[in-house]
């Protein structure tokens, strides 16, 4: 009888701790998604400041990055602010610009984002999909997706061009696997449309 009581107690404690750990896990998981959403809201505000001519506007006081471009995929309703510097800590808040390659105005621009938050839409991007990138000086450039490719990150390379504008979006592949860290990457290349370059007149 006594043994049974102990057993009951053990199971109760176990159940409670399971609930606690489970909640913690679920929250921390959900936080990743919430952070991704929330940050974009703050970023949209910082972006408005950037377009108004402020330099390197920080979206929140302790941020170590700043918005440098706005990425729009009209058909999919995607409108995201791109951050400078492709590091794990910036990727939590938005797609990031690989800074060493170009200044997001000329040549190949490489952006990378999380496959399950900001760049989840890449799964649905089609060939000749229109992607629009607005850079911090207000310049809007339109691109058309020309190529999808799945590349092993250990060996793959992205060709760079300093003269002709192109947009390269990189995310982990495959989508919808529970466990992150695989070696494959989806590389979506979009070529600039020559004529549709226009300068938005801003104050």
């Amino acid at each position: 009888m006594k043994g049974r009581q102990i057993k009951t107690r053990v199971v109760t404690i176990l159940a409670y701790s399971l609930v606690l750990v489970g909640l913690a896990q679920a929250c921390s998981g959900a936080w990743i998604y919430m952070k991704a959403q929330l940050a974009q809201v703050l970023l949209q505000r910082a972006w408005a400041g950037t377009l108004a001519g402020q330099q390197d506007v920080k979206p929140w006081p302790w941020a170590d990055t700043w918005p440098i471009a706005r990425l729009i995929v009209p058909r999919l309703g995607i409108d995201q602010i791109v951050l400078e510097g492709a590091y794990g800590r910036t990727l939590a808040f938005g797609p990031a610009h690989v800074e060493s390659w170009s200044d997001a105005r000329e040549g190949t621009v490489i952006l990378t984002g999380h496959r399950d938050t900001h760049f989840a839409f890449l799964e649905h991007v089609q060939t000749s999909e229109r992607i629009v990138l607005q850079s911090s000086n207000g310049l809007i450039r339109s691109y058309r997706v020309s190529d999808h490719r799945i590349v092993d990150s250990k060996s793959g390379r992205i060709p760079l061009d300093r003269e002709h504008p192109a947009l390269v979006l990189v995310t982990c592949y495959p989508f919808h696997t529970a466990i992150p860290g695989g070696p494959l990457r989806l590389v979506v290349t979009a070529e600039a449309e020559d004529i549709e370059v226009e300068r938005k007149v801003r104050r």
């Binding site: 159940a15 679920a26 998981g29 794990g88 938050t117 990150s153 860290g181």
Partner: protein, 709 residues
Amino acid sequence: MLYTHLRSSVVRLLLSVLITAFPLLILPTARLFAQPAESLSTGIVPTMSINEVTEGTLLFRTNQPGRFTPAPVMKTDVQIAVIGIIARTTVRQEFTNPSEKKGDWLEGIYVFPLPETAAVDHLRMKVGERIIEGQIKERGEAKKVFEQAKQAGKRASLVEQERPNIFTTSVANIGPGEHITVEIEYQETVRYDQGQFQLRFPMAVGQRYIPGTPVIVEDQEPNGTGTMLDTDRVPDASRITPPGQHHSQGSINGSGNSVSLSLTLTPGFPVAKVASLFHPVIAIPDPDGGYQISLRKDAVPADRDFQLTWVPAPSTEPTATVLTEQRNGETYAMLMLVPPTHSNDTAPRMPRDLTFVIDTSGSMAGPSIEQAKSSLAAALTRLTTQDRFNVIQFNNTVRSLFSTPQPVRTAAMRKALRYVDGLSADGGTEMLPALRQALKSQQDSSRLQQIILITDGQIGNEDELFELLTHRLGTRRVFTVGIGATPNSYLMRKTAEFGRGTFTYIGNVNEIKDRLDGLFKKLEYPVLNGIQLDRTGWTGLEHYPAHIADLYEGEPIILAVKASSLPDQAMLLGQIGTQPWSLSLSMKQATARGGLSVYWARQKISALMDEAFTGTAEETVRKGVLDVALAHHLVSKYTSLVAVDVTPARPTGKSEPGQTQSTKSEEDQESASLAGLPKTGTSGSVQLLLGLLLIVTAAILWRVQRAAA
């Protein structure tokens, strides 16, 4: 009873679920789980590195982006003409578009590995009876012409320099079943090593890509510019190569791809022996001392490299040879000064100032430093009383045994031997201050001032290094010795060139002692020093290298000369030991040969590119190189060859698979490695899932518990 049993088994089941899930909790990013699952679902497509292209290979684009099929090679024909130390090679390769489907127009990418010193200057494309000659154009312009021709359905071909030793040619619009012949001509310098000249034509097919086995591309030295062929150009043929083409590829390795080769050898000096190492040849002597060489068999399978060696006849005096070429009203000449095969030990020795600069950084530890020490000690004991010497070691700091080179006296020698014996390898590599220290010694043209730099490290900040040498070298000479696999041999060779000395590369650590001993002995007796070409009688004389190095045993000197008019007799001046030496060369009887202008142009381009190191503006260098490269038909950093057939071959309107693809990647040398990018999968979903699973587990436990109570 049954219920209790059932209940306890449910509890047990839940516990085991928990236990299994636990590692996931700790290691949400366990790669162990991730990899097999992903490779199963998508199938990792192996890629091939450009380094694995060991012979001319034509790759066809396919409908699938980034996928290629190798085209069957029909025939390879090689013709080589060797003049002096210049080898001019013409490679003619025939390919077909194996497709029989109508309208299957393909673009091929031809990848060709070349020797490091090779320069491509001609491209010819043969389609049926028509020959299309390549035009040299500025790189961007050539690309544009090629693209336009491709769009218009014309056959076109483009040669670009990917890296110094890889050339790619894109051949557009090859019709189904059509044969296409690509002919390229390149020029290279023959190797001279240990008393024999050596020419190698790569024919061996190295380890080929085998379908189903992943070939992992290894990262190359981080030069940035095109360490690898772009991923879309590197074929991952396995998954798309139809079975029929495996046979044709198989035949590349086997008897199918045969190579025929012929060679004319004009060495420019009496030759004692000509030998082919791996292929039986027929060598017919010419009256002027040359040879006509051809393979004994008509054609051989491409299974081993062709290697030809020739040895100069023994001599005790330096011999000089002149070859000339007339082109566009200018005379181009090659002056070759070959050292005697046996040095004249009785010649009076010049007093020497010998400065050893030795790398004692941590990487030299082990056999490298030990062998370098013992050959250094041996070299010290061979010094004579008229010599002076110094030893400088560098790692994090630079330590100099004496402030300036000291005369050879018992006390100094004793100190030096003890110092050398105590050298130990530790710490980093600071080469520049060490060389600066070595160049502080007093200049003295009556002495041989030799600085010997021994290192296994990379030469960094080369701009500063070359600038230092240009301004501070004076009468001194810098000899570089690279040890082991790491030295950047291009920069070490350049350092020696700026230092007007020689570069010795020792790849095998076990050979250090022997090779260093050989070098030190050689340096005791320069055959000739202070060599100059007498300018009287020449007009518009321009020669490269502008400063002629000293002549040492086993190191012939080549001078590329251009002039608008030449004297009947050219005079070479110099010194043997302390005695003046001169040699007059008859320019009138010089043998006329082709290819010398190209050699001169290449030397000039190389000299111009060097100017970039010493502060000349890039734009000036670019202009200079463009002028020379365009005039002499050379592919360089700034120029490409393009060949376009004027009549359209492909009916326009029909799209070529190659066109649907991004053409961007082709022109780039630059590419970014994906490995440098951060991971872009979050653990969000797995955490959410796990959390929910745990809560559900708890709920079930509770339920079961409540039911039992």
